[in-house]
Amino acid sequence: MTKRSFRFLPRSFWYDLTQAIWQPFGLSLLLVFSVCWFVAGFLYLTHSTLNLQAYGLTYLLGAYSIGLDREMVPFLVALTLLLTTGISFSSEIANMKASEQVDLLEMAGLDTIDYLILPRLGAVIILTVGLTIIGWVFAFVDCYLISIQMHVDMPGFLRTAHEFFRYSFVWLGLIKAAVNGLIIGLVPSLIVLLRKINNSLDVRRAVITASAVSFILLILTFVFFAVILRYPGVIL
């Protein structure tokens, strides 16, 4: 009846991708998490500054801020997205399996990987990279506000920040964010899709397994990036 064309992606791919970006991680949730990250960074830097002040080393705040940008921002973004988007996608797919919706897709001749996972994967990668950049901006604003509030030696702060900064932090940070997105978008959904799910208990088990495995993989990725690859020119 209908001839299958050489269309690589389903017709609805781009629509599903934009839906996957906005539905689970809507604007309101983005604002809430932005405030949380801002407050967390502010608290961390305030305590660090107080400690540094005790030794008259406030000019080292620049080094702290670089560390915050490099390690904490991607980690917080990855954790946030795993807890929200990653788990919501996996539970959605698990419920679809339990209610025969995945069978319906297969009978409609759709590849479940193309249809269910690829748009979500694309959405999560875009989100992790985008939110990491936003997180960096917040970390910078945090540092700026603290340096004003605590009368930090501004030229010293900028000098140490500049000394510790490498351009490789930016592109490696973006690669790290994309890899995190790959794990969050792919692993939980794939685990759930491959499991046998018939009822709500199976859904719960599958989602717990998916989130636990993804979390472990995220930690291992951070270890891989921080220890094994080592940022060029930086001794950890």
């Binding site: 009846m1 209908t2 299958r4 017709r11 069978d103 319906l104 297969e106 009978m107 409609a108 001749g109």
Partner: protein, 272 residues
Amino acid sequence: MNAIQAQGIIKFFGSQRVLNQVDLVVPVGKFVAIIGPGGCGKSTLLKIITRLLLPDQGRILVFEQDIGRLHHARLSQCRRRMGIVFQQSPLLDQRDIAGNLRLNFEYASVTASAINQRIAETLAMVNLIGYEHKMPGQLSGGERKRAAIACAIVRRPDLMLYDEPTLSLDPHNKNLVVRLMNDLHHSAPHAYSAEGFGKARVATNTGQITSLVVSHDLDILSLADSVLFLQDGRLHHLGKGQDLAPKYLRRLFAESTLPAGKNGPETRKEAT
């Protein structure tokens, strides 16, 4: 020509043997019903026929193609000739009814207007005109079932599979679904020459739709050319639906086992 030919199907769930050397032949154009006690493997058999599940042993020929050996593209092609109405009437919650029907054309190289026309025709067939933009959550049980049937028939399949199509429906909706199944089964194959859908489909030998239904509904069973009873993993032929006495079938459902020591099923003639 047979629409379905199952040979020696064995299926285990854990250590439990659900299907035990099941042989099934459904000729093209026939209406076959399978009944049996709950958990005896009826739905499993349907899923094996569509290759949503794989058997542990045996093979299934659908329109003379071994469905277990088909690779992805051929499998999709073969599935396009089948329509299945699942027990839970699944519809994608995040899509409206037209969107659910449109899933069948995600990879099709046809124009959007041709797809929309086909969707409108199909919704008219199941008496859901004007429901294109309703979400599945807004439908009643009967409407949902009809929408699920629309999803199954939107590609105009040669083989219809139904898994408990009238389960938990009120009498009015049940009658609608039974009538729809009857109409679909006896409808002549459509000349699918609508704009963009290419040449007419190759008609089956008899020019009829083949139906295989798992049901305990007496009205549906009365439509069947052949009623089969699945017990202990094996299929037993009971006879033509119209010939079987309702009283006998009700007793069969109640006891969930074939009466021992009888030569054959009780017919309407014997009952009167």
